[in-house]
């Protein structure tokens, strides 16, 4: 499933039209992408993400919608789902586009891990599942996030460590087998090892479970290392839509938007000032390779 967004504008307060959270955003996210969304706080990225599974609905999808002549309304298509159409099956859409919010572990609520993970499944399945089917799905999801089902299934989610809680929360979203998984700051607040583990988990889910992954992040190193394409938001507008290898060549413009750049981009710039130019895709792996090649050329 691809995501195609056209002319998306949104205001939380339509009576003061100057305050747009999103202004005329058009972009496509291809199936199979590991897509990154960046932007400082208040740039509109969360508002954008909430449109993707219709937590915020488009004006044309409102029950009382009456079209005005000459207005180009925003449209969002996700695979076969038309989010501008009020007859769309929202439940089906939401089970195909899973959203993991920031600090999802704060949303855990059930008495046991297995009940917590099963909650979304029960709500989204079209036909009632037997206890055996439910258990099989829950087991599969918990295993996919790297937890041992037998060990955690009966534990209270509140007795787990921070990293484990976050995994359980992700399991609760992927249990419906979404094709697109959107995560808002998936690694925030974790220690460096926890971060590495969560990013590793997302890559393994990307290979086996969810075709498309979209992450919102403030961590440019994380974006540079992991994403295939990046959207940059500022003041509700889409400023850049590029792969990291091209995006981080715009270091000065990004910094003018109040954004950071990856460490590799900083070293590249400092080298440039010393008359050494490096051509890289900005992952640390490739950057080190290019530098070593430069050093070796003269040996």
């Amino acid at each position: 499933m691809y995501i195609e967004v056209e002319r998306l504008s949104y205001s939380y307060n339509p009576t003061s039209p100057s305050a747009y959270a999103l202004k005329d955003v058009s972009l496509t996210i291809e199936e199979g992408a590991f897509f990154g969304i960046i932007g400082h706080t208040g740039s509109g990225k969360s508002t954008f993400v909430q449109h993707l599974n219709a937590l915020i609905t488009l004006p044309t999808a409102e029950k009382k919608f009456k079209p005005k002549k000459g207005v180009a309304y925003p449209s969002i298509r996700i695979g076969d789902f038309d989010l501008a159409d009020k007859h769309t099956d929202w439940k089906a859409l939401r089970s195909k586009v899973g959203i993991v919010f920031q600090y999802p572990e704060y949303q855990l609520f059930a008495e046991s891990v297995k009940e917590d993970v099963a909650f979304g499944l029960k709500n989204f399945s079209q036909t009632p599942l037997t206890p055996e089917e439910t258990e099989a799905h829950v087991k599969e999801a918990l295993t996919a996030v790297g937890l041992n089902y037998e060990e955690v299934k009966d534990a209270s989610p509140f007795d787990l460590s921070g990293g484990q809680k976050r995994r359980v929360a992700i399991a609760g979203v992927i249990v419906t087998k979404p094709e697109i998984l959107v995560l808002d700051e998936p690694a925030a607040g974790l220690d460096p090892l926890g971060k590495r583990e969560i990013m590793g988990l997302l890559h393994s889910l990307h290979r086996s479970w969810c075709k498309t992954i979209v992450i919102v992040s403030h961590d440019m190193d994380e974006i540079g290392e992991n994403c295939t394409k990046v959207a940059v938001f500022a003041d509700g507008e889409l400023k850049f839509l590029l792969p990291p290898s091209e995006l981080f060549l715009h270091d000065e413009e990004l910094e003018a938007l109040g954004l950071d750049i990856p460490t590799t981009a900083k070293v590249r710039r400092a080298l440039k000032e010393r008359g050494i130019s490096v051509d890289t895709d900005f992952t640390s792996e490739d950057f080190a390779r290019q530098i070593l090649a430069l050093g070796g050329r003269h040996v």
């Binding site: 109040g258 460490t263 010393r274």
Partner: protein, 284 residues
């Protein structure tokens, strides 16, 4: 003078079971912080570093050993109240530390509780807001502030109690990079200009670089101590404690392993300088 001293301190959240050592969150910890010093405590989640913070101002009482603040032991109940005035803690979540809807009321909360006279409270509000660079926000709603601004207000709230030691328990973990920089600037300024003793608890290696000294915790014990540079040079050991190098360290390590004799560098500028040296040497 020693601002804070831990003497063989152990702590367990559960009643110790006979013969079980794993139940200790902090185990046999000895360290001290001099007045005016800036010490960073590093450790992965669950290493005991937050327990250390709570022991330092008597929110938790040591199961064994003693904690002293300016030579006053915290084990005696009568000392607790006066010691807490000296040791302020700023926690992780900005939203959990706001008690009032207006900034100045929020800052007044602490001083009001310890019975500071009204006129004096007004002065303290002005001073603490100025110290964190938030003077113009005095009459704003706390709910309309960004995460970084809320944490600065939390720091101001602690400053209004005029503590001698400030503990930051992962106070930047929930902030974006901009908010993180704001907080670290304030902390640095308090330490350098006001001589405030700082205990910074973090898992961001970059932040630990700003400290005079760093302590690494693992499974409740202190496993490494030294200047931040000394700690980072022992990166292989750091990894055994589930701590990862900052991105710049990762890059440095990749180059070194690839056979480039780069000297140790912790900033992009320094690393670029080292690389430039290596390249010009090899071409010479």
């Amino acid at each position: 003078m020693k601002a804070l001293e831990f003497k063989n301190v152990s702590f367990s959240y559960r009643k110790a079971e006979e013969g079980k050592t794993s139940s200790f969150a902090v185990k046999g910890v000895n360290f001290s912080v001099e007045e005016g010093e800036f010490v960073a405590v590093l450790g992965h989640n669950g290493s005991g570093k937050s327990t250390l913070a709570r022991l330092a101002n008597g929110l938790l009482e040591a199961s064994d050993g003693s904690v002293e603040v300016f030579g006053v032991p915290l084990s005696e109940q009568k000392n607790l109240f006066s010691v807490r005035k000296n040791v302020g803690i700023v926690f992780q979540n900005p939203d959990n530390q706001t008690v009032a809807s207006i900034v100045e009321d929020d800052i007044a909360f602490g001083p009001e509780n310890i019975g500071v006279p009204r006129e004096e409270i007004g002065v303290r509000i002005e001073e603490s807001l100025a110290a964190v660079g938030m003077s113009e926000y005095k009459e704003r709603m706390t709910s309309a502030l960004s995460g970084g601004q809320k944490q600065r207000i939390a720091i101001a709230g602690v400053l209004a109690l005029k503590p001698k030691i400030m503990i930051l328990d992962e106070s930047t973990a929930m902030l974006d990079p901009k908010g993180r920089r704001e907080i670290m600037q304030v902390v640095k300024k308090l330490n350098k200009e006001e001589g405030m003793t700082i205990l910074l608890i973090t898992h961001f290696m970059e932040e630990a670089l700003m400290a005079d000294r760093a302590i690494v915790m693992n499974r409740g014990e202190i496993v490494m101590q030294g200047t931040p540079e000394e700690i980072f040079e022992r990166h292989d050991e750091l990894e055994t404690y589930n701590l990862a190098l900052p991105p710049i360290g990762v890059l440095w390590k990749k180059l070194e392993e690839g056979g480039m004799p780069v000297g140790y560098a912790l900033t992009p500028e320094d690393l670029a300088e080292e690389i430039a040296k290596c390249i010009s040497k090899s071409s010479a």
